[in-house]
Symmetry: D2
Subunit: 355 residues, 4 copies
């Protein structure tokens, strides 16, 4: 039985971790960290957990926690994990950090986009970017996991095979993303009130969202060259779910007669299949079926698909997932499973809920 501690257990991602770990056969939660609710019963903060969790919320004491548990999840605002972690802690306990602190290898890029000083740059190199489908082996051996952001997970998985296989032009990528409101967190802000979000859609963070450099870094690895792209997130009136619609120009194939054509459906499909055929959590949909966030709700799946537009020579790549599961807590559990040598899908065999 693995003992887990959660720092930031009362945010939405933290709450989802509790939901998943409570049902995980090999894990026991030993610490519900929440500075805002210390000494309050956890179920008083999340009444869905009444009679399921009887523990109280604790302080965010990582030192104490490191002696007590096998794995710490930090589901906290940017900067906190980097402030708390140190070599002694890492020698005792594995850490899955759901914040952005260790996702970006270039500390300057991190500091520019996040506007804060990085307090533990010495661990950035060691930290493994926990996108299991791509970095599985590295995850297994890691002490410190940078759990990917929600948008980067969905974006990277939707685009990755085509860059790897050289099917799209890396300089033409545009990602238009749509997210449910749980991604905005549980903080009390007017902007996130029901009446402000309901019956409304808007873009935000245009050309400035902090997930941009994270996506660019991951896609640069895939492309083997630096990728700059446009990323525009939108706030959608729903609780959960991320949909990304990405655009890129296809690399055309020269025909003997001097003309050029887009790669065929079959060729593009083969690229997706090459990388995802054996992936449990990535479902490449049937031809012409567009992903819908509702089809993955509550589960760890990412549904992807694409459409070739021969008129414009572009491809439209689509991906859908639950931002709190594969985009946060589910992926964190997947990483934990790998780190502890458990079956990767343990506790994650979640059937999507519909409707």
């Amino acid at each position: 039985m693995i003992k887990a501690g959660i720092i930031g257990a009362t945010g939405y991602a933290g709450g989802e971790l509790v939901r998943l770990l409570t049902a995980h056969p090999e894990v026991e939660i030993a610490w519900y960290g929440s500075r805002s609710y210390i000494d309050k019963k956890y179920y008083e903060v999340y009444r869905n957990m009444f009679r399921i969790v009887d523990d109280k919320c604790m302080d965010d004491n990582m030192e104490e926690l490191a002696d007590l548990v096998d794995v710490i999840f930090t589901a906290t605002p940017q900067g906190l994990c980097a402030t708390l972690v140190n070599e002694e802690i890492l020698s005792k306990v594995k850490i899955v950090d759901l914040s952005a602190d260790f996702r970006i290898k270039d500390v300057k890029t991190y500091e520019e986009w996040y506007g804060i000083e990085h307090k533990s740059p010495q661990f950035i190199e060691e930290a493994v970017y926990g996108l299991c489908e791509i970095n599985r082996e590295a995850v297994r051996g890691a002490r410190l996991i940078a759990n990917p952001g929600c948008y980067p997970t969905c974006s990277t998985l939707s685009i990755y095979p085509l860059l790897k296989e050289g099917l799209i032009d890396p300089s033409t990528i545009i990602i238009d993303a749509k997210s449910g409101t749980s991604g905005a967190g549980r903080g009390a802000k007017v902007d996130n009130l029901y009446c402000e979000v309901n019956e409304n859609i808007k873009a935000y963070g245009v050309a400035s969202h902090r997930h941009t450099p994270e996506i660019e870094e991951q896609l640069s690895y895939a492309a083997g060259q630096e990728v700059l792209l446009n990323f525009t997130p939108h706030l959608v009136p729903m609780n959960r779910g991320i949909l990304i619609t990405a655009y890129a120009s296809l690399m055309k194939e020269q025909l003997p007669d001097g003309t050029s054509v887009c790669p065929s459906y079959e060729k593009v499909r083969a690229a997706y299949d090459k990388y995802y055929d054996k992936e449990k959590f990535v479902r490449v949909l049937d031809k012409n079926i567009c992903p819908e966030t509702k089809w993955v709700e509550g589960s760890n799946y990412v549904d992807v698909n694409f459409k070739i537009d021969e008129r414009t020579g572009r491809i439209i790549m689509m991906g859908a997932m639950d931002n709190l599961v594969k985009g946060a807590a589910g992926q964190a559990v997947q990483n934990m499973n790998l780190m502890f040598g458990m079956p990767e899908a343990e506790g994650l065999e979640l059937v999507p809920m519909f409707p």
Copy 2:
């Protein structure tokens, strides 16, 4: 391994049965009955099931099914189960009927409220009303279960202890119920279009909803006398969830000085505890906490609570549950578990999803 067949697998309740049984460790679904989608892959009707269910939809052939499976779930419109069932079938297979066909003991009442002739009145007496918390022993031995309606489940469990203990006046009960839209089914009707339901609330079936006699019958058993009541359902712009708010006059206690008082909070609470203390799926909430449908979403819980109003001498009883789980598919699985001697909560240890 128990083999299950579902007739009506592509309605919302049928879909939820598939979700629950797919994750049930002791059950295998052998038949996805759906007259509307015969020969279509099940996942083409419910894309959330892609790569989880690969079977095709079959006809509603109960005879053939009876030879093939151990239990049949009928999640079909009223009248179908009563038309298909016969002694030979019942001698081979257990049936959990999610329709109303066998819920009401008085066939005339059934025929009046449902406006159809009952085709198998000979099985009404035998059928067990599958509200496990109340009829547990009878369920264990049953061949034919009348799985309770969604509103009746939530209403009965919220009111039952107080009638049993004589704390409320049975002639004063008013139930005001609110349901998510999945209760209206997956039929293509203008009334259930997104734009008609969204940003809207309305009562329907006022003083005429067919769940009324079912609730009355169950509460009559509890009261030991005939109960007539008012039941008003409302359609709420959300997918899942039923909330009932019920009102009744408290039986006052005579004081030595000739005045009378309402029973105390503690006394009423003790009545709830007496019946639900050991019930896994009924959660009596802490004092002053009102049930919310979100706290039980996706789970088999019913959350209940109450508030005494001494000014008016009435009590307000509240109950919340997921109409597709405890109100339909979850309760059906709970019944199946009991009928087959399995742990009652097998496959139903569902942690509510929030948000």
Copy 3:
């Protein structure tokens, strides 16, 4: 041209006042009071008003305002209007108070339910309860209007004719109310975040909501005797709209043979028609049509209807309206129109928006 000042212009009710007064042909808004946003452009707080309102938000200075305008609307938290008002101000300007300060004639009842001391009890007697359909003449001559609460407006108008005509038993009234979330205001609270309200319904303020004594007072006038009742509001995942479903026992009519019967549909209908036949803003719906909040959205209508249940001897009364219009700003404008001798419906000829 009437000059209007609004204190509390940036709450939802204040925002709706701005929407209505902006389109009112005889009114000019001269003061957008909002302590939280002083010196900020009003359209920066409500971007829908971009290029429609160019003024800045001002302080809540009622003294200064009284010299400047003809009418002041106070759309502020309880207690503020009673604190600011005085004889000198009332001698200069008419006031429509959208808070509860002057709604309840018994100051002790006010202080008990609202938990604050009343700072201007000397004006309570003079203040006119601005439910125009009932107090039209008094409104015309008033200096100070207590604009009715949202729930009381809808509840009173739905029940009033039947009490007036002695058709229901005043001791049996139960009001189950459902409201959209704009009724909870624009304050930044976790409870009102999108993810907390969406896909959820709950009761709140059970047996303790502050609109209870207001409804009781108005219905007591109608009944000619003291009325105590149950009032239970619920929070519904929609922006606007209030639906009330009220229950009462009908006064039965004795037949010559000694039995008794409920009054007929025609008789009850006649009672509604007697009071509302000439009322522009109260629509008594066709038989068997249940009010829906969507049908009145954005308008000043209240739709009412009823259903007799002969089985239980009760009547179900239903009413729907837009809580921000007839339940707040629209009614305030209606009162202003009457006070200034304008046509009552001026600026309120709003066609409900559907969908």
Copy 4:
């Protein structure tokens, strides 16, 4: 007083026409055409119109109608207007066609994308594309208006100035659009049921949506060259509203030192101002403010803005409007106003409703 007839008065766009024309001071609706509801009271189809409209629904008889009214609005499926119209009718009455029949000048393109034969190609040339902000003078003199599609209106107005001024590369345009569900119409389809749309977002019509050639044609006029682009609509869980997020590469300016830079914010802003400064219904928002559909709900406004991304050399153009108003009925009324020499904004001074 202008007499108007509506063919297709009971769809959502037709219903919105009724809402707007009912409040229009110079128009009287003389014909509520609806083949599905002939002889039914209009308010029985749209209960919001109770006591506002008392007329019955009529057949779609354009011949009869032409003798009766001054203007006919056809809010019908594709193909119907082209089938019904003829020279005699056009000689008697003005027509505003809300369908796509006369929007596309190249009949082959129409027939390819819509999959139907055009029955009146002889009127295509004459028909004026009723985007008033661009074709105002032609609209004034027209007999037959092709009322623009919802997506094309929002897309064209958001991008037009930059193409006109040569600020963006016409070969790089990508439009990612999001629409509320009223755009899908009032037909009873499973896909548009509440439970299917709610808590969900998806792309549809990817690389094949019929508004694509319409947008391309309009933008080609602006660019002075043929424009091919990508257009991807998405279905969003809300009733009303369209948001478009469009991407294009900026035309860089060569600097004396041989490098090149993006045009400045001021320069791009000046392009928008040049075309929209005097347009009542196009609001160019303040710098860094992203359009939100809620800010224009119920009104005829289109809110537009942009953001320059110097890192990628692209510009993000955004536009928001109410699909049923500026995207359909409001624009139709705006066209009618121009055609009859009335003030362009008559009946369209609608203040957006928030929340």
